[in-house]
């Protein structure tokens, strides 16, 4: 059984050249589908990066007890500017809060007692600060608890409320992507397999005569299949590489197109494992459908 395997492999290669039209057709449709899948991957990756990298901020609302010394409060506020992960702070002295509230209600210059008759006449609104911070460290929830404790520990602080706003968005995307990405990858792979299978069936049809002859002169089915597996794998790799090349060129053109304020959307090329999948999946499906296209 010396040289039969290399011979069959070589035959799988030369057979492609013997049927140029079927082969080119197969590579073409493989490239097309793989390119579409790659485009889909690119969108997913870009979305994933955008939402994953989004500076997830948590907003803490800090209330002081009414009557706390305003100088003390102001120095606490100044301290916030130096917190790690500081993004923004919005502060309200009781008077500011009052003015704001009054403006909202359409009556400025009134005291709390005038606005709300049920309150004691001299009662004031609490001083408030809205602090936006980016979570630090690997565990955002632990960080949120610690930060909240820090705010609460400050003298005069009555209440702290932490609302992780954009964090929710990231987490939601993670959930979605878990349910979306891999099923769609699987779906695309099946699509790829079906199309490649059909194309290879055409190739097999073009070689039906040859297969018949091989069988008549005593070829085992594995001998007949091997060249088709090789042909399929070569077509698959060819189509995958072509698609990757097209995708690369496209990416080079559009990577920075959306990267301007306020979008700052940088388009990302699928990472190496996904790119490898774009070549290996068509190759594997093409090889398998090559084997299946020859019926026993």
């Amino acid at each position: 059984m010396s040289g039969i395997l290399p011979r069959l492999v070589r035959q799988g290669l030369t057979d492609l050249a013997l049927h140029p039209r079927a082969s080119i057709g197969a590579v073409f449709s493989l490239t097309l589908i793989t390119f579409l899948v790659g485009l889909f991957f690119m969108t997913l990756v870009t979305l994933d990066r955008q939402l994953g990298m989004a500076r997830v901020e948590t907003v803490f609302q800090v209330y002081w007890r009414p009557g706390t010394d305003i100088g003390r409060i102001r120095s606490a506020w100044a301290e916030y500017l130096h917190l790690p992960g500081f993004v923004a702070v919005k502060t309200y002295t009781p008077e500011q809060a009052m003015a704001e509230l009054g403006a909202r209600l359409g009556r400025s210059g009134a005291s709390a007692g005038q606005l709300f008759p049920f309150l004691p006449a001299d009662s004031a609104l609490p001083a408030t600060a809205l602090v936006s911070l980016v979570p630090q460290g690997p565990d955002p929830e632990k960080w949120a608890k610690e930060t909240e404790a820090y705010f609460r520990s400050q003298p005069g602080v009555a209440r702290v409320a932490g609302t992780p706003v954009r964090d929710e968005m990231g987490r939601a995307w993670k959930n979605v992507s878990r349910y979306v990405i891999w099923p769609s990858v699987a779906f695309m792979t099946v699509m790829l397999g079906l199309t490649v299978g059909n194309t290879l069936r055409l190739l097999v049809l073009a070689r039906a005569h040859e297969i018949e002859i091989l069988q008549l002169v005593g070829a085992f089915n594995r001998h007949i299949r091997l060249p088709f597996i090789v042909s399929g794998a070569v077509l698959g790799i060819g189509g995958g590489l072509f698609a990757l090349l097209l995708l690369y060129i496209l990416h080079a053109q559009i990577a920075e197109v959306l990267n301007f304020p306020p979008l700052f959307l940088r388009i990302h090329f699928p990472p190496p494992p996904m790119s490898a999948l774009l070549v290996l999946a068509p190759a594997a499906t093409a090889a398998i459908s090559g084997a299946l296209a020859v019926k026993g």
């Binding site: 010396s2 040289g3 039969i4 002859i213 008549l216 002169v217 005593g218 085992f220």
Partner: protein
């Protein structure tokens, strides 16, 4: 008894074991054994109750007009058609319930020259002829030597590197013959192998087939050419007509009225009643 010993020498080891265990079955001394074989395509009965058997090294003409069922019979004998009724054993393979995995093994023992050649037009003469050798995993040098030898015998040595679509019909036919002969098959089924060849070449080819027979191959040679058979008056002839064996000149053919050689020749091999039909 002599025949048994002959066979024992060339049997594959498995069959040899069988011989040691029990008396040699009759079928083993027969390369082709067909009993009550019938085949129909839909309503059309192509073969009806055909029985015959050929021993090792026997040469038999399968004669009969076009449409008699010659091709159908040969196709059944290399498992290209399933057995519908009756039984057939070829080169120790029982074709009734032959597992599909064994079909290639049978075909490696049986060389077939197809009426429609079945060669690959885009491959060269050499590639076509070496195809069955390739499948057997022969080395390149070994393969080349055998292909060259058979091509010289068939007058194809000049055409080895030419693609088969670029050679004449007669040459294509010789390629088909070469591919069947190159493996030294135990059984050779030839379906009108001289149909496209001129008389001189046909006779040269016949010599080749006869040579094969003397090497021990069993040859079943289908032809409708009475002229060709006329050159071999002593050959065994089996005449097929509308799917039935109507005459034969040796006892291996299962016809009730097996004719003497002379009678058969009078009737079929030389211009006779066949002409009138």
């Amino acid at each position: 008894m002599l025949r048994h010993n002959e066979n024992k020498m060339r049997l594959p080891w498995r069959a040899t074991n069988l011989v040691l265990l029990r008396p040699l079955p009759y079928s083993l001394s027969r390369m082709i054994r067909v009993r009550h074989l019938s085949h129909s395509f839909g309503q059309h009965q192509a073969l009806s109750d055909v029985s015959f058997s050929l021993g090792k090294g026997e040469f038999v003409f399968l004669s009969g007009p076009s449409g008699a069922g010659k091709t159908t019979l040969l196709r059944i004998l290399h498992a290209a058609l399933p057995i519908q009724r009756g039984e057939a054993i070829v080169a120790d393979f029982n074709l009734v319930r032959l597992p599909s995995a064994s079909v290639p093994l049978l075909r490696r023992q049986v060389g077939v020259v197809f009426q429609d050649f079945k060669i690959l037009p885009l491959r060269t003469v050499e590639e076509n002829i070496s195809l069955p050798l390739e499948l057997r995993g022969l080395s390149d040098t070994h393969m080349e030597r055998r292909v060259r030898a058979v091509c010289i015998a068939l007058g194809l040595e000049e055409r080895l590197k030419v693609k088969c679509r670029d050679i004449s019909g007669g040459e294509q036919q010789r390629v088909a013959i070469a591919r069947a002969l190159v493996t030294n098959p135990k059984v050779l089924l030839a379906d009108e192998p001289t149909g496209n060849l001129d008389p001189a070449l046909s006779l040269r080819l016949m010599e080749l087939f006869k040579q094969f027979q003397t090497y021990g191959a069993t040859v079943l040679f289908a032809t409708h050419s009475r002229e060709l058979m006329g050159h071999y008056p002593e050959a065994h002839v089996m005449h097929l007509e509308s799917g039935r064996i109507t005459a034969a000149n040796w006892p291996g053919a299962g016809v009730a009225h097996a004719l003497r050689a002379g009678a058969l020749r009078e009737n079929f091999a030389v211009p006779g009643p066949g002409n009138a039909r």
